[in-house]
């Protein structure tokens, strides 16, 4: 039954929704712990985002291909064990290939297991859809998560260190806003970003209302 989607448009829709319209961090506010804990620089955000993307895509692939074999009563435990296996793979791979990154992220690599985004996608999507669609959905959601983490990490790094991806942006006269790379900065920055999203959405709604009113008047 492991057919890829017959309808490429649907696969594309599943992919694109995670990136923006249903973005896991900015819209659904899922997976907050890693999203805030490791995003003090853009590089860390990217590493965490890609690790999560990998685990999510692989788990979705495996679980959607086994979805007819998994008994309903033990499905959650099955998902957790599958996810934990892939997280162990990522943990050991990073330790061998990029020990510096592994040290920076620390226990948060292991904590990908309890990221509610991953379990949520298995329960809500991968267990009900074909392999192709499930992988597209996972790539979209994981990509959206990684995008949000890089944005958050980048913004905090620019303000808190005056650099981006480790390259200094401003001259020596820049006084870094240290609080941004410390824990409070994570809460404040995500709060501000959500606020900007809300105000943009509000502005769009008002604009749409005004257009409608004008059309009604004509």
């Amino acid at each position: 039954m492991a057919t890829t989607s017959k309808d490429p448009a649907q696969a594309y829709a599943e992919f694109i929704k995670g990136l923006w319209k249903e973005n896991p961090v900015f819209v659904q506010v899922l997976g907050m712990c890693p999203a805030l804990a490791v995003t003090n620089t853009a590089v860390n955000g990217l590493a965490m985002g890609s690790a999560t993307l990998f685990v999510l895509a692989m788990s979705s692939l495996l679980i959607s291909s086994m979805r007819k074999l998994i008994p309903k009563a033990v499905r959650i435990s099955t998902y957790i064990i599958v996810i934990a296996t892939f997280v162990t793979v990522v943990d050991f791979t990073l330790k061998a290939a990029a020990p510096l990154v592994h040290r920076e992220l620390g226990a948060f690599i292991s904590l990908i297991v309890v990221n509610c985004l991953i379990l949520g996608r298995q329960e809500a999507f991968a267990s009900k859809n074909s392999v192709g669609l499930a992988v597209m959905d996972a790539l979209g959601m994981g990509g959206g998560f990684a995008f949000a983490l890089v944005l958050l990490g980048g913004a905090r790094e620019i303000l808190g260190k005056g650099s981006l991806f480790g390259f200094p942006l401003f001259g020596d006269s820049f006084e870094p806003w240290v609080v941004m790379i410390l824990p409070p900065g994570g809460f404040l920055m995500l709060g501000l970003i959500l606020l900007i999203f809300a105000s943009v959405a509000e502005g769009r709604k008002k604009l749409a209302e005004r257009v409608q009113e004008r059309e009604a008047a004509e």
């Binding site: 712990c33 162990t88 904590l111 297991v113 309890v114 501000l192 959500l194």
Partner: protein, 193 residues
């Protein structure tokens, strides 16, 4: 003795699980709208953390020495089954407490603070007593953060806040300010150590 006290205060205030490690944020934002439930959830968390700490110590000492790559999988399975088991025991022994904890008990399984507790404890090489003190401190820290947040949110409900700011954005900003306040505790141990 000093070491034990340091572990406790550090987990409770200086490195508060919620406000400086960002662990257990889901209940922190999800169930912090009422003071009463927030406090109960905090107590349930302390309870599960102590038991998890015991189990993690036993696993690490007797089993995982031979197979470190199974650490993550065995921890998560043990936590899930412990919570289930604790739930059954409480239901049998004290129905009143069971009703008070309600849905929060099973939900604790997916709380990342619990898994993090087990992982930190092993990576820092805590023994049995140190692990237990660490668990109580971290659990009390979670409770403290939850109760503070719930109190602030109850106040905020009654104040005149712009509609745009209501909801998650406001909660995050409140949490940021709380976290800023907790950073002040960082100086607590610098003279003694």
């Amino acid at each position: 003795m000093n070491q034990i006290a340091y572990i406790f205060v550090s987990a409770l205030l200086i490195n508060n699980f919620t406000l400086s490690y960002f662990l257990g944020l889901c209940p922190f934002f999800g169930v912090s709208s009422k003071l009463e439930t927030a406090f109960r959830l905090g107590l349930a968390n302390i309870f599960v953390m102590v038991i998890t700490s015991l189990c993690a110590w036993a696993l690490e000492t007797f089993v995982l020495v031979h197979a470190p790559y199974l650490r993550l999988i065995s921890f998560i399975v043990v936590i899930a089954s412990t919570v289930q088991f604790v739930e059954m025991v409480i239901k049998k022994l004290s129905p009143a407490l069971f009703r008070a904890l309600g849905i929060f008990l099973p939900l604790i399984t997916t709380n990342c603070a619990i898994l993090a507790l087990a992982l930190f404890q092993t990576s820092r090489g805590y023994g049995l007593l140190e692990g237990l003190v660490f668990a109580v401190g971290a659990g009390a820290g979670l409770t403290l953060a939850l109760v503070l947040m719930a109190g602030l949110r109850e106040e905020a409900e009654l104040s005149d806040i712009p509609s745009l700011l209501r909801g998650t954005a406001m909660n995050l900003l409140i949490a940021g300010i709380l976290s800023l306040a907790f950073m002040g505790f960082a100086g607590l141990f610098s003279q003694t150590s």
